[in-house]
Subunit: 286 residues, 4 copies
Amino acid sequence: MTQPERRYVITFGCPDRTGIVARIAQFLADAGGWIVEAAYHTDPDTSWFFTRQEVLASSLPYGVEELRARFAEIAVELGGEGKVADTGEPRRIVLLVSKEGHCVYDLLGRVASGELEVEVSAVIGNHNDLAAVTEGHGIPFHHVPFPREDKQAAFAEVRSLVARHDPHAIVLAKFMQILPTELCREWTGRALNIHHSFLPSFVGAKPYHQAYQRGVKLVGATCHYVTAELDAGPIVEQDVIRVGHGDSIRDMVRKGRDIEKVVLARGLRWHLENRVLVHGNKTVVF
Amino acid sequence: MTQPERRYVITFGCPDRTGIVARIAQFLADAGGWIVEAAYHTDPDTSWFFTRQEVLASSLPYGVEELRARFAEIAVELGGEGKVADTGEPRRIVLLVSKEGHCVYDLLGRVASGELEVEVSAVIGNHNDLAAVTEGHGIPFHHVPFPREDKQAAFAEVRSLVARHDPHAIVLAKFMQILPTELCREWTGRALNIHHSFLPSFVGAKPYHQAYQRGVKLVGATCHYVTAELDAGPIVEQDVIRVGHGDSIRDMVRKGRDIEKVVLARGLRWHLENRVLVHGNKTVVF
Amino acid sequence: MTQPERRYVITFGCPDRTGIVARIAQFLADAGGWIVEAAYHTDPDTSWFFTRQEVLASSLPYGVEELRARFAEIAVELGGEGKVADTGEPRRIVLLVSKEGHCVYDLLGRVASGELEVEVSAVIGNHNDLAAVTEGHGIPFHHVPFPREDKQAAFAEVRSLVARHDPHAIVLAKFMQILPTELCREWTGRALNIHHSFLPSFVGAKPYHQAYQRGVKLVGATCHYVTAELDAGPIVEQDVIRVGHGDSIRDMVRKGRDIEKVVLARGLRWHLENRVLVHGNKTVVF
Amino acid sequence: MTQPERRYVITFGCPDRTGIVARIAQFLADAGGWIVEAAYHTDPDTSWFFTRQEVLASSLPYGVEELRARFAEIAVELGGEGKVADTGEPRRIVLLVSKEGHCVYDLLGRVASGELEVEVSAVIGNHNDLAAVTEGHGIPFHHVPFPREDKQAAFAEVRSLVARHDPHAIVLAKFMQILPTELCREWTGRALNIHHSFLPSFVGAKPYHQAYQRGVKLVGATCHYVTAELDAGPIVEQDVIRVGHGDSIRDMVRKGRDIEKVVLARGLRWHLENRVLVHGNKTVVF
């Protein structure tokens, strides 16, 4: 299958009023821009307008920097803020992991099979259980131990390792460590976590155990942006799977993993494709 | 399509040990009993054994009363407790409703089309919005107003109306009134509620509003037995439906209703078929 | 919950080129039109562009007839064809039924509970099993018998009854009669059928029997536009439900009905909201 | 999490009559056998009875060979045929692959994370694209080229490589080669294939292209036993995922892969746990 053509992806938000679509569309039409995908939404509570547009790079007479400069003027004019991404620019992610491998194996498999077009710059683990398979994929693995008595130094090292790669996403793929507030802030809008419950059910530790005790008939998973408040960040994607009285906690964990993997993979894909616009504590996913 | 043949349905629970299945199976085999469906489960936490067995009525040389008497001896012997239901005995339900009609329309439609084999003895409403359609189905409708200042008398009337029919299930089909503790107790194991969220998410009032505020990507419904603690009874069935940023609360309510209807209908069917065994605050659904 | 405000819904298709979105958006902006929902799509095989836009009626300085006239000019200019619907104009449907009631009960219940805003002008049945409940909802029921030896006269009567109401949709709610080609043509784009399989699996008669024989693990339903070729029209919506070895054909029919009901209800809603654009034998559902 | 205790798994089928359950249960009870999971089913068309029972190994006074010998007598007595598996005996699989890696990456990840307790004895590919990752997992990879003009020799080599490991399952993980009839026969009941459509829809080549042309709203995958008739063997598991007009064939392939992976993984797990009983062209999955 051939790759899709190179595109520029405009994402933008501003207070709603008439004429926004016309303004942006005319701007693109004037330059001969060929829109191949477009989406709009207005939040009824806040009257905030959102849009995402994909334009064929080859249809414009100028490059991405020029488009960024020109679109910035439109954004100012409309009183909003936007961004222009270029699908021709390579994208990078860093994975933070612990001992559980299912999400990492899944993501590395998706990258290896060309399904997720991204470079995994590094995998950082507080244990080194996942070093071998990571390196088997030709990806550097950094082991950063997290001693109970001094996590601060460990987080500083993680921060510095991440910063070195300036990744488009930091993926907490079952990292099992609670990020300090300053790191949540620094990585705002780039750090994605996979939580093993259908949030806001079973916030906190051992959600499968909580689900088992409550006797629920479905277990789920949630991919969300990391914020300073634990498990409370903007939700990007969720899904569930059926469980029954015959399922032990062990079975629920196993079934839940299949959901964790697809929910994280979908959330990450959408993030990398600039499909997720955050507004307050909610997301618009175009 | 022909009706399934008349069956006796044995449900039983006791402390687990070896030989229980053999004891019950031998008891049935000795009488020539033809088992057409059988299920077993042992709860690993409490070591409680559960079983449900369907036997063709025509295969036994005696009637249901004799079977009940004989099985009662086995139950004592095994230190457990059981029940024998007869699919030839007509089953009755009473519906408690308010103004919202979707669950009632759905249940009455299922009964009218022969899909749910049960007699709806009465529909009781604290408003009379649903009287016309109920009576159009040839079913008595009782309007019991619930004045804010004296709900006690109203509940007493509901209780007495329900008692008159001695129903196999009291279905709170969007009743919107919180049952007093004594009624919860009296109706233990027979009162089914449909809650418009994926419990334990969004306990209490206005779950769709809560879901909308949290920005979840799925909304759900839960059918559970009513207990004195609000929205905390044993869960019989749950399901979810996908929602997105484009869905208003009004849309979420509408989509959620499709899930409420099927979740309630499934839960009620399983209850009437004696498939639901309650143990502590959890259910086994065979 | 308050009703959504009155809107004009523009649907339009034309050969893709740059500037279409700008042209339409500018046209609306010039008149002060407030777009509350907009969607675009280009079919990559045929390079056909599709759009659907909802504009607040109150934001335009003129009425729907003027909008239709003005938009017709744009349509000509862009070499395409479009339509302007007005959510303030009442919408009508006619249901064609036979003996099976589940879809009819479901649709009438949705209308009665205000969930589906449409007037059911008439229900026409080749049997009169569903007359009582239909009339209980205050809706006229026409019994048109279909004798084996002369279906032509019966179809002529159905055609004339339908024509009398000029409905926005003719819903074959388990009608079980194959429409003659000329009726398929006359009702093109307005006749919706619900087929009890996941098409193209199990085309033709007794799909649940076919599914049972093949031992599939899911059964489904398909809502599609009626065309002269049986079960081959453009698909509007599909869904499936899980079945297992313990399910008899009777059980599969019952479970399948829950899917038939929601698939038909969703398809009909989208059709009435002008969300479905047909192109060749496929649909775009905005 | 601790491993479940060692168990003996009895699977058995015979013509239905009264007393079968009692006979087997009494046999186990006499030996002190502790049943931890049991399931029964009778096929209504053929009156064939099926059962699967898990017994704690430690509860029996003898080993698996003795149990096999003793149960064989019961099987003869009841005129049926059965099997006794031992969860303590290591299980082996061989994977047949081509160029597409998603199913292989997924299965190897599940094995590496301890989710699927099986030894992957070998991966055999008609291309060697997947050699590196396979060997990165410490598993031998055999490259067997399939020249167009002489596939017979290649199949003979595959056959001999497989025979060397005597695996419990031969998994065609996107193998893309049609097995010769004699190999289908030799591997009867052990060869599992993953087909990228919801069979019987879109039998044969390029199912996603067929699905795209037909405009379906869901795409699926089917795990089935391989038989001499292409894509027609007994179905073990199926599932679907939603697609829409915005999805290109490329998108449908990508989304479908997520379903292929879980459907194959579930089917394989059930096969290895002796949960799948084949009868004619259908399966009972306990």
